[in-house]
């Protein structure tokens, strides 16, 4: 299991956990926790609706990929810490990180 913290649009924080051996991505886990994420494209990095910011643990998770940047650049707001949750595999790299939901599409 991997443990991490999620901050919602109102600033409320919740500790979450996810199995790291079932091939899930972070968007799927956030939806399972019933966070209001549209995930219109279902995880293809094509809609930008699972936009999050990595507040802590960015170095471990690495940089946003090219397909992510293509989407992020099109959003009205994006930050150096922005990622698309659907492009982050649940793995021990995520352990201990803190992430924030960006709510512009929900």
């Amino acid at each position: 299991m991997v443990n991490f913290t999620v901050e919602d649009q109102e600033g409320n924080r919740q500790d979450c956990e996810a199995p790291d051996d079932m091939g899930f991505n972070l968007m799927e886990i956030l939806k399972a926790y019933e966070y209001p994420i549209l995930a219109t494209c279902g995880g293809m990095a094509l809609c930008g609706t699972c936009h999050i910011e990595i507040l802590e643990g960015k170095d471990e998770l690495g940089e946003a990929t090219d397909p992510e940047l293509d989407q992020l650049e099109n959003l009205p707001e994006y930050f150096p810490t922005s990622r698309l949750a659907c492009q982050i595999r649940i793995s021990d790299l995520l352990d201990g990180s803190v992430l924030k939901l960006r709510g512009e599409d929900q």
């Binding site: 549209l38 219109t40 494209c41 094509l46 809609c47 930008g48 099109n74 009205p76 707001e77």
Partner: protein
């Protein structure tokens, strides 16, 4: 006023297949979609992606599926209102409805079918104070008719393909085009980006990079847009129009106000016929919810077939519906 048997809200794959199922029962359809083209998410978000779970197609390109669904619906001559959002449903005394769109198109229909996917695609708006004050008064999120901008001063904000393409196009129409982008480089099509840099070098457009939208102002109508550059210095530009282009995102929109039972942005339906709690309104595809719901195109197709058999009684109240196979009866166009 457009008169039809069924008005389908949403021209995605499920809405298009519903036309075919309705046609087999001799019911005519008019479709309305907020996007300027048919196909819904498939055409808007992932036209060139393969889909692997359409029965009979081991693999099909999303746009090809849409094209085939249009071909399949063709014998039943569906009509379309595209690029307009449905705003109101008004129930008539005889139980039928008059549907009105954002552009004041009116459709009279005996039955309403909501096949709206995740809602209607609406432009993403930048977070800037007073933006709403100038919408329709200088701020627009879509270029519907380029002639609107002839000999006008236009600012485009954004860095994607549509910002690049419209900058190139409007540079030939508008008095002056300014493109403002928050980065130094563009991730859109390299050809378009090169063309935009060329136009800027030739002095045909103004290109402002590494700048962010800060403020819009005017007296009733937009006249000045303020940007912040890298060093946080203000850049003020006088303009007739501002076109922010930051992509589209689906919103449930006015559907939420039609008295339907909604759970987590989806319409609750009776699985016997996908009817909503409101007489003569059905909901099929990704927009509905019920125990066990799967948001799959193929499930939407199934829902369309079942709901059409239920809607038949409203279009032909005096006729008994007999179930027929296309293999036996063929497809009888009208």
């Amino acid at each position: 006023m457009i008169h039809t048997d069924l008005c389908i809200i949403g021209a995605g794959p499920v809405g298009l297949f519903a036309v075919f199922e309705a046609g087999l029962l001799k019911m005519r359809c008019h479709l309305i979609d907020a996007l300027p083209q048919v196909g819904g998410q498939l055409s808007e978000i992932y036209p060139q992606k393969p889909i692997y779970d359409i029965p009979g197609y081991p693999e099909v390109n999303a746009q090809d599926l849409v094209d085939n669904l249009m071909e399949q619906a063709k014998p039943f001559s569906p009509t379309f209102t595209l690029g307009e959002r449905v705003d109101h449903l008004d129930k008539q005394e005889d139980g039928s409805f008059i549907v009105s769109t954002s552009d004041k198109t009116k459709v009279h229909a005996k039955v309403i079918i909501i096949a709206g996917g995740l809602g209607c695609f609406e432009p993403r708006k930048p977070v800037v104070e007073n933006l709403g004050l100038f919408e329709g008064k200088g701020i627009t999120y879509m270029v519907k008719n380029p002639e609107t901008f002839r000999d006008k001063k236009v600012i485009l904000a954004g860095g994607g393909d549509s910002a690049l393409d419209w900058t190139i196009f409007l540079s030939k129409v508008a008095k002056r085009v300014t493109l403002v982008h928050r980065n130094e480089t563009f991730r859109g099509a390299p050809d378009s980006a090169a063309k935009v840099f060329d136009l800027a070098n030739q002095g045909k457009i103004d290109l402002i990079l590494s700048a962010n939208l800060k403020e819009v102002s005017g007296n009733g109508v937009l006249d000045t847009v303020t940007f912040l550059d890298k060093s946080k210095a203000e850049i003020k530009i006088e303009t007739d129009y501002l076109i922010p282009l930051f992509g589209l995102s689906p919103k449930l929109g006015p559907i939420a106000d039609w008295g339907l039972s909604i759970d987590k942005n989806a319409i609750e339906v009776d699985t016997r016929d996908y009817s909503t709690g409101v007489d003569r309104i059905y909901a099929i595809g990704d927009i509905n919810t019920y125990p066990g719901k799967l948001k799959l195109i193929l499930c939407g197709f199934h829902e369309a077939a079942i709901m059409m058999h239920s809607a038949f009684k409203y279009v032909y109240p005096d006729q008994k519906l007999s179930f027929k196979y296309t293999t036996v009866n063929g497809v009888n166009s009208f």
